[in-house]
Each structure stands twice: as structure tokens, then as C-alpha cells.
Symmetry: D5
Subunit: 165 residues, 10 copies
């Protein structure tokens, strides 16, 4: 454990987040995601027993979202026709709104990033792709975090931005 680092961030996760660079992607996977097979070429970090929201919140305290792309957060979209609700997405929106410096001045400086409008809310930062596109993208992620999240459609992929010193 370290001063100021959320305890849920293990030493290996901390190292992995730290060695990621601008544009590298990270998957926070739910409990049924095939993390080991999809992450065969990635670093797989076990966080069994945890849900996605507490990891998302901890990670966004350490890792900025990519300021140079429109949608640095990617969700797996609901399969067409599936009537399922996705209340966990609201949790994600709240966490992003609380942690992204562009949405919350108190969280830090808004730099860097291209000039112009900037996001006006978390939905401006969140994209969705179909299940199979999500799998394909996940296969080239730098790391996959395997949680035990039981909510449906809970997988989330983050693209790391620039860290200003």
C-alpha cells in the first residue's frame, strides 16, 4: 500500500497503469468476460471479487482519459432487440463526471487537449461498439482487468491520455 493510492489498485495494476502510454487501451471486464483468452497477448490482472465501478473510479484517479480522441471510453453496446436495462452505465457516467478534469474543475487542470468546445458531459466521452467489435478491440488492449462484476453489459474499455507533469 502507498500513501494516496486506492488500496484496490494492486502493485501489479499500479505498475501496468504506469507503464501505459498515450493511446494504450485498458479493459475492465466483468466476471463472465473471457479475460484470459481475449487477453492472451495482453497483461491480465485478476481483481476477483470486485465490481467494475470501484476499479473504474480508482483508475480514473490515476489515469487521464485520452484528450485527443472523441470517445476515450468504449462500452459494449446492447445487442439489438435485447430489452435489458444497463443501470451500471449510469454509475460509469457519474464516475467519469467526477474524475475527468474536463468535466470537473476540482479534479484538476483541463489541459492538455485540442482547443475548442471540449466535452460538456460524460456522454461526450463514451462510445459504444457492437459485441464483436468490442472483442476485436479488446484483443489489442495493453491490459485486461478481470473483475467479478455481475451486472450485464458492464465491460468498459479506457484509452489513456497524456499525463501532464
Amino acid at each position: 500500500m502507498l500513501l494516496g493510492i486506492p488500496p484496490i489498485v494492486s502493485p501489479l495494476l499500479l505498475k501496468t497503469l504506469s507503464e501505459m502510454g498515450h493511446g494504450d487501451r485498458l479493459v475492465i471486464a466483468d466476471g463472465n468476460f473471457p479475460a484470459e483468452s481475449v487477453g492472451r497477448d495482453a497483461i491480465v490482472i485478476r481483481c476477483d471479487g470486485h465490481g467494475v465501478p470501484e476499479l473504474l473510479d480508482a483508475i480514473l484517479r490515476l489515469v487521464p482519459l485520452d484528450q485527443y480522441v472523441d470517445k476515450p471510453v468504449t462500452l459494449m453496446d446492447v445487442v439489438p432487440g435485447d430489452p435489458v436495462a444497463t443501470p451500471i452505465w449510469d454509475e460509469y457516467r457519474d464516475i467519469i463526471a467526477r474524475r475527468d478534469p474536463r468535466l470537473n474543475a476540482a479534479a484538476g487542470d483541463r489541459r492538455p487537449g485540442p482547443a475548442g468546445e471540449g466535452p460538456s458531459g460524460p456522454d461526450d466521452l463514451i462510445g459504444k461498439v457492437s459485441r464483436f467489435d468490442f472483442y476485436d478491440l479488446a484483443k489489442s488492449a495493453y491490459a485486461v482487468i478481470a473483475t467479478s462484476e455481475s451486472a450485464q453489459y458492464a465491460n468498459v474499455m479506457l484509452q489513456k491520455g497524456v499525463v501532464l507533469q
Copy 2:
């Protein structure tokens, strides 16, 4: 994840618990325990972000306590003169009372084990050793689980018993 296995038990922890035999010892360590250095000759399993009680409960659903020794559970005793309270020990007592088959008929059969009185409550199963004796015992444990438990005097060592098929 598997049917009937608590999600907090990671694949590696599951394998480790399974390959332990009668008499092997396991440490569930709190967040400040030097798990990596004490566990240098052991299998160290990271469970960052979790507390000890939820792991103790999950493990006792899979691993019986040693039926052939008096005190299969070992706590690190309070340093003499330290006025600290250890409310987490009560949680441990409750978990053991709920999970040990000798204390809770509903948890399963009481066999095996020597004939005679048997434990009448969880305190009959819990021993305490001084801090330095605890460290020495921990160095020869089969595995050390590193949690983020923040309670004081929360380290606990378990000795595995016989599994009846």
C-alpha cells in the same frame, strides 16, 4: 467463475487451496503485513482491495480446519500493554462458528477427527502467538494472501484439515 464457488476466490487462490494438504498453513494478511518478504518461500496471492473477513468466510467454505490439532486458527496477539481493541476478532469468531462443521451441524458432517469432546465454540479453535512467533510461523506457510484489511491485529493463520470425500 465457477458454479458454487465464491467469486472472491480467484483461479490462483482456488488452485492453491486445492493443492494444500492436511497440516499446511495459510496466512490471510492485513494491508500492512509484509506479505511479499515474509512469503518469499511461499505462494503469495494478491487480494488487494479486500478485507480479511470476506476471504476468511469464502475460504472456510472450501477448506476445513485441522481436526487433529487443538488450535487450527492462529491470531497475532496484542502486544502486552497495548490498549487497542480488536473487534475484528469477533467477526472471525462468527465466521468460524458459522463455517466449521463441528460447530454448526448444518455446515456438514463433523467427521473426521479424534473422538472426545470436540470444540464447544470458536474460541476452542483459536490460538494466539506473539508478533514475532507469528512472523516465524508465517515464513513456513504454504501461501500468504495479501489483503487491504485496515483493521489492527487482523492477520490470521489457518491450518488445513482432512477433506472427507
Copy 3:
């Protein structure tokens, strides 16, 4: 050994089953299957001396079949013209009927899975592919279990489903 886990499931097999996710596939191979070469990119688990049925039964107590595909179980079909009988398939049907929650309410809840009819018997869950298609599919399985099963056409491939907590 662990409480409630069939002893035939070794620590490594237990870990492997646990780290598989939704959609990952597992081959339980007979004694003459080229498990090591076909499984070159997979985890190969030796279960020499055992037959397929006892492993199938033990695994289905821990792993649900995929609720989102029509045929989560795949057999290697008899080569056209071969008059061989395949009595071991009847054993597989019995095991599946006994272990799949959708076919046996006593085995647990039927959720999750798409609404609608659901399987009415084990044959609704079992597909067959030709020998060479079976080999191709097996090469991308997550794990291959090498048994000593001596029955013919005894190889079986399982696709893991969603584990509800």
C-alpha cells in the same frame, strides 16, 4: 482437495475452469486424441487413467453450458459409412440431462439465457461436426483435457456459459 469439489478435478484443472469465461471452449479428449499437438496453443491438462464420462460429470457440476448458443456441446461425428456404435454418447446425454439446470430444475436456477422455448432434452444441446472440423475447432480451445478413454468417438467439446452469482 476442497469441500464440495469432486476429487477428480485437479488443482490445475480447477484453476483453468475458473479462469475460462463466457464462450471459451474446452475439449475432453479420449486416449488416442493428439492432445499435445492439437493443444499446442492451449492449456493441456493430463488426466491419464480416467475416462471422459467421469470428467464430464465433474466439470458440469462447476461449469454451465453456454446459454446463448444453440449447441454448446460438440461431438465428433461418425465418419460416413462407419457402422460403429457410439454408446458413450448415451452416457453423455444422461450426464447433461442430470447437470444442466435448464433440463433439471433440481440442479439450480434456469437463468440466464434468452427467453423462449429453451432445450427440452440433452439432444437440443449437442451438435456434431466432422472429424476435421472438430480438429480445427479444438485448436482454438482454451484447454484440452487428455484422458485415457478407450471408447470410440468419445471426444467432446464444451462451450462455457454465464455463471450467475
Copy 4:
């Protein structure tokens, strides 16, 4: 699998038995024996799901008992005062009587070995040591086979003899 080799003998077990020499010792351990910790300096071979007798029988078809010591087979003796019966020892006696060439001329030539009486029955080949002496001896064995044997006092240690070509 190979012609003439019992299928229960896995490739790794076969290699291990083959590379053992005169005087090397092998433990066939029951399901609760701490095989991984006792065998930390040995080769540990998982044979989960099997009992000791079928492995003992298969191994004695490939490995001769040491012809140069009095008691090449070692059992863990019953703890003094323990009224437990050990019927599995009778099975061991039968297997040894059937497989040892000195006791069964049909099993092969009696050579080599010191001149003189030779064993007149399996008990002449079986020694017993106390539980703690057994553990100490097991720690320097060449290999430990972890079975799921559920009988009590079922651990058995073999000392390999000379193979005549």
C-alpha cells in the same frame, strides 16, 4: 499412450519412473497428504481422482523394488492407541505379492539381489515408520505422486531396485 504401458501412467510419470535409479524413493500419497509442500524439492505428479492401489499396481509392473535392502516398501504406521483398521494394507500386500518377481516367479526372473533366503511373502518387504519419520523420509524422495485416495494410512513409499536388461 503406449503399447504395454498401463494408461494410468502419464507421460510425466513414465519419464520420472524411468529416470529414477537404484535407491531413489517414490511416495504414492493419499488425497490429504501435503504433497506439494513435502515435495517442494521433489517432482510432484498429480494423479487426482485415482486411488493408491491402482497406481501401486501399475508402477510395480515397471519398477522393481530394491533387492539390496530389507524393506523397500515403507508405510506410515498407525499412531499408537489409534484403533483404526487399515484394510488398504491388505490390498498392498496382494499387489506386491503379485508383482514382485521374488514372490511370484511368473512375474519374471528373481535376479539380482543378494544370495540367501529372500523374502517369503510381502510382509518381508514392508517396513513401517512413525508419521513424523515418514514425513522426513518423504522430503528427500525423488518424486511424490498426489492421488485422491480416501483410505486412512494409505501413504506408501517405494525404493527402486536394479533393473536387469
Copy 5:
């Protein structure tokens, strides 16, 4: 060494032969064959100082030839126009005639395999391919045995058959 196993079969070779399955191929290479480079993706087993015939004979005592293909033995054919004699092929024919159960009832049962004529002599089991086709096939073999055989055109490839228990 083991009872009944030819001493020329090393522990590693024994393990390798045992873990091969139906259809896996094995090259017994002469002393000038580029075993390490051709076998880069295979298991290479050094048998320096030995010739091919003694290894072929020992291996065929343990491994059946594939009963499901016409030519389970493959030789590297003489380059067109090369007047070289290949007397070692006669040795191979003799060994195969002596060891293959279909050609020598004393060697064991003829099963399994397709009904019909069956081979009437070793030449019915031996195919030949050109030098470059042999190299290509060898690159996907399961194992390559490097001997010091000095005869010309002495390389031989075997395809493993079904082992009946």
C-alpha cells in the same frame, strides 16, 4: 530404466512417445539431418551415437503405426538419377515386418483399423516422398530424433496409430 522398456529409449523419448496421439508424426533422422533447425517447432531428442535401426525397432515395440492411413511410414526417396543403393531400407522392412501386429500375429492383436485386406507385407506400409517434401513434412512433426546414423537416405518418418488398451 524400466522393466520391459528397451534401454535405448531415454526418459524424455519415452515421455514424448507417450504423449503423442493418433496421427502425430515422428522423424528418426540420420546424423547429417538438420534436426535442430527442421525441428525448431518440435521436440528434438538427441540420440547421438546410435543408428536408426535400433531406435526404429525399440520405438515400434511401444508405438503402433497408424492403422487408418495407407502409408504410415515415410522415407526420403532417392534423388532421380542417383545410383546409390539403400540397403538400410531392407533393415527397416525387416523391423516393420517383425513389429507391426498386422504383419506378425505374434506381435499382438491386429485391431483396430478399417476392415478389408490389410497390408500383406512391409512395403504396403512404406511410402516415399521427395527430399523437399520430406523436409516440409518433418517441419510439422511432433518430435525429431537426432541419431548418428551414417547410412544414406536413412531418415524415416512414422505416423502413430491407435493404441488399444
Copy 6:
């Protein structure tokens, strides 16, 4: 790089500091310290090109000094009779005064630690040992950081304290 983490702390150093527990020791070594040989049983982290003070400062922002011992910081004392000055020790005192929460309320809460006086200045936290005692202690440290510090008597050893969540 991560938000709020000094860039001088590499991913590996971050992981190492994080996995250290209460009582583990860390050496920040100067450029001529035999870090690789003394640290043979430790984790050696190369920080070539850096001095000790910038690393000490960065590390104390993440790692608390041991609140349960008198002197959690250890310097290598000047060899008796050596007239050398050690101005770098003043830098260390300043850094410790600025970073230790017990000396600088602004750096955070003073807890935990035994009741009583507490340190009144950095010298209360700094012990000195002879060169050879320093070497002996360093050999059992958890990690050794190899800097290029050119100042004399610049080696410093830290003992990690308890991190409060």
C-alpha cells in the same frame, strides 16, 4: 506516468514500493555502492543518472517511515577519523522534515504510531551504523535502488511504516 506520481518513480519502483509492508527496508544507494552484489537476494532497481535526494523526496511522498521504531532512517556513519563533511545529510534532514507527517502537519495526519512524545525533528528519526553493519543490514533489504549519486556517505536505508487508508 500517472496523475500525482512523481515521474522519477518508474513502474517497477512503484510496484516495489507498493508491495513492501510494514517493517520492510529499502536502500537508496549511491553510484559506487555494490548494489547488484549486496542486493543479490533483493529487488534491484536501476535509477542511473539520478541522485539520492530526488529519489528520497519522491519515495517519502508515497511511503511513510516506520512509526513503531525509533530510527526508521539509517545512514552509513563516517569512518572514525575521516574528516570528510557530509552536506548531503542536511538535504536528507530537510526532505524528511518536509515529508514526514509527524514533523509536518501539512503533510497529512500524524497517526498511527505509539502515543507519547513523537519526534521533534528529523534527527529523531535518523540512526547511523558503521559501514559493515550497514552492508549487513542492506543484504536483507527488500529492495536496493542504484543511483548515480556522487556525494560521499550518501547511502540511506528506509524502513516502511503503516499506511492508513
Copy 7:
């Protein structure tokens, strides 16, 4: 540390530079460059806490630029339309002018290299490629040095030349 070698050059960096040959490329990356993922097939050397200029200067004291290509130094060009200034490029020009023997006779002999004009200033040695071309080239570099440089457009790739003895 070694006599005459800049301390910032770690043992591993020294080895890596030494084993590079004519035409091998090296990336000195800024703090946000995805060094670990781009350098997946390369040797990645952490130089956290350092800037690019001090490493460039140290490396050019040991490694000559390729005398056989026009532009042995490659920068990532500014994205079209981006008004950002790149003052760090001037530092690079100064370092190259000071260290390249063709530009500074005092730095050593100008040989080898093709006859003719030769470079008249550092700009003759520096090429620029677009961001994505830079990434593609970096993926086949021999090594990637991960610094903490905070300047923008600070990544630089060097192609090693011929070392005259």
C-alpha cells in the same frame, strides 16, 4: 559506473547500445509515448525521471549516427495545423552539432561514410515523418528508451552508424 561513461547510461543501456550494429534503430521516447506497447518486440529501457536531451547527448558520445543514409535522425513531425512550438528540437540540433564528428572535428575523425559533400549542419542529418509513420518505424526499432520528457514532439529515433576502431 565506469571511467569515461556518462552515469546516466545504465548497465543495460550500455549493453544494448553496444550490441546494436550498423543500421539498427533506437527510439528515445518522451514520457507519454507508449513505449511498452510499441516496443513489445524491442528492448525497452526505463529511464524514468530523465529528459530526452541528456540521454541524446550521452548516447551520441558512444554511438555514431549512420554515415550511409541521408537522415539518420528522425523526429515525429508536427501534425499539420498544430501551432505548437518545438523548442526542444533546437536542443537536439545543438547536441548533434556538438557530438557528430562530421560537424565537429574536435569530436573525432569524420570517417567513414561516402565521399562528397557531407552534412553542413545538424539539419542535414534530421528527417521528419508523420506521427503514424513514426509509430510504424518505432515498432521495428532495436530498443526503446522510456524517459519522462515533458516537452511536446520530443520523441527522436537514431540510426546507428559504423564504429571505426
Copy 8:
């Protein structure tokens, strides 16, 4: 060191030369050749401080040139228009003339190899390819020896022939 083996042939080089077979290629590279990157899929053997001729001479005492191809020795040809002299090639011709049994009866028997003329001098054994073809061929060599040879165009590739016992 061994009796009769040139001391310049290290244990690893000796093993590598020995495990090469007929048709395998070996590069003896000069001091600026990118041996580690070109040899990424090969065995790279460091012979720093040595020149190519002494290694060529030592190797040809142990390794015959391929008797079945026209040009078993390959040089990197001078770039068209380059007026450089290549006096080291004369050294190579002398060494080959002295060591190849077909050119020097005293060096041993001329066998094996196709009937007919045979080489009348070293130039009959030496081919040249362009720089880029040389690089491509080198990438599939079995081994690359990295020397410190300072002569230009000094790289040489050898194709191993048949060793007669």
C-alpha cells in the same frame, strides 16, 4: 578447452557447430554487422575482440562445406561503384584452400559429394550476393557469430556439408 579443438571455439560455439546439420547456414559477421537484430531467430554467439579469419580457419577445421551445392560460401558483394578493395577475401581464399578437403588432399578425404569435376580452387566455392540479399539469407541462418572484425565487406556465410564418420 579440449584436446585438438582450437581454443577460440567456445563451448557454446562448439555445441552450435555440432548440432548444425547438412544445409544449415552460419554467418561470421564483422564488428558492425547488426548481429543481434538480424540473428533474432538464430543463435547469436559473441566473439568480441576477434577477427573473421581466425574464426573461419578454426570453424573449417571442424565443419565441412556443403559438398552438394555449387557455392557453399557466400560473401556480401561490393556495392556497385564502390572502389573499395577487399583484401580480406584473399585471406578467406587461402583459408578455404588450406582447409577444404577437396582442395587440399592433406586435409582429409574428398568424399562425399557428387561425382564430376569438383572445385579446382577456392573461387569455385565462393559466391557473392548483394547486401540486401545477404541480409535476407542471414535472417534464416542457424547461427550468427559476432566478431569485432574491422575490415570492410568481411561478412561471410557458410553452408555446412555432410560429415563422414
Copy 9:
């Protein structure tokens, strides 16, 4: 294979013999010697299928016996009272007489070695130790060669001498 090297000497054996120095010891073990357990800290080289004499002969063509000790060859002495004959020792005497340069001027120069008498026959070079002393010495040998030699008392240990260039 290499020119002038006996084919029985595998690449690994060649490397091992070459990297041994003055005073290092080598065991050539018979087929029942516990080579893997005794050689746990040594390099174990499998030569299954071979006898000791052919290896002894091949090795003495490459390795000189220690010229600075009285008895560079060590045999395991016959157990007192054992009437067994050891005809293989005569083979060893013949081989040593033929290969040791001090006993056979044709085998090479007699240097180096202390002045004085020198050995007058192979028995002057051969010592014997008891079985248990042999085992103890073998445990600190540099390498153990595992043969399939079936003769009794056939183990032999060699101490390497100085190689003159």
C-alpha cells in the same frame, strides 16, 4: 556432427566437456546409477542405450586426465565380501592405456605434469573408494553422464587435467 569428434559425443556433452576446467570431475554412470538425484546440482547428460566403455574412450580423446593428482580416475570399489568379478575394469585399463599420453607416447605429448616417475601403467592412475564415498564425491561433480551400462561396478569418475594448446 563435427570433423574428428566421435559421433557418440552429443553437442551438449561436447559443450560440457569443453567448459570443464582443471580439477573438475565427471561421472560416467551405469544404467542403475541414480544419476538424476545424485546429479541434482550437476549437469546431467543422458546417453541412454550406450555402455560406459565407448563413452570413456570417446571422452579421453578430448579430455586429459589430471596430471597433478595421483589418481585422476576413481572407481566404486567392490563391497567387502562380494565375490563379484569386474571384467569391465580391464576394459577401462585398456582404454586408459591407449588414450593417456603419459602411457602412450603416440597419443601425444606427455606434458604438463610434475617431474618425476610418472605413471607406468593405467593402475597408477586409478583409485577406488567405497560405495558411499563414491556417492558423496559424485554429488559435487560438474557433470553426470547417464548410460545404460549393464555391467556391475561400472561407474567411473574422471578428474580433468590441464589442456596444453
Copy 10:
């Protein structure tokens, strides 16, 4: 290769010399020294084909001798009564006189080191120990360089000093 580094210093040797610290020892061993067995716990660097003097000279250009001990160079003394001459020691004296800054002002600054007389010639820096003491010291060296030096009593051990930046 690198600018200003002697080509005989391989990348691995360069790395090793660089990571050694004050007081670490290095053995430059002759061709018959048992470098691999004595250096079992050290880094062994093969420099086959080279003599000791050229390596000693190259190393002393990079590594200072320990300024804080009387005799940073250690030779293996002649065995009492041995009349052998050791002319190579004169070469060592010359090299040390040429490279040690305290003996050759042109080689660099004399600092650091204790005040006082300082060495007046190379013999002041060279100690001798008996053969067995040399072996014992060598076993705890940081690295052992294996040369092919053929001179007698040519082994030399160096203790690294302080590098001033």
C-alpha cells in the same frame, strides 16, 4: 561496438563491469581455470581465444582499482618449491603501471583514496595468495572471465574502486 570502448569488451562484459560497485571483485581466469564451477554463483563471461593481458588492459581503462585497500590486485602465488617462471606477471605490472591513475598521472586524476603515500609502483598494488585461498576468494567474486590464456599462474583478481564522475 561503441566509440571509445575497446572491441574486446563484449556487451555483456561491459554491462557486468558497469554494474559492479566499490569492493566487488572480478577474476580474469586462464584457459584451464574451472571458471564455470568456481563461478557457479557468479556471472561467467566467456572470452575464449583471448589471453589475460589484453583483457586486463581493456578492463583497467574502464574500471579503477580499489583505492581503499592495500592490494586491489590478487595473483595466485607459485606453489612452494615450483621452479616455474611467471613472465606474464611482468606484463601485468606494465599494464597496471600504464593504467592506474595513481601510477600514471596521464591516465587521469589520482583521487579518490586515503591521504598518505600512495603506491609508488605496481607491486604496491599486487598481492598474492595461495592456490586454495585464491579459489575460495574467486567463489565470491561478482564475475569470472574465462579466457584461453596458456601462460602458467596467469589468473588475476581485481577489486573495483570508486569511480569519480
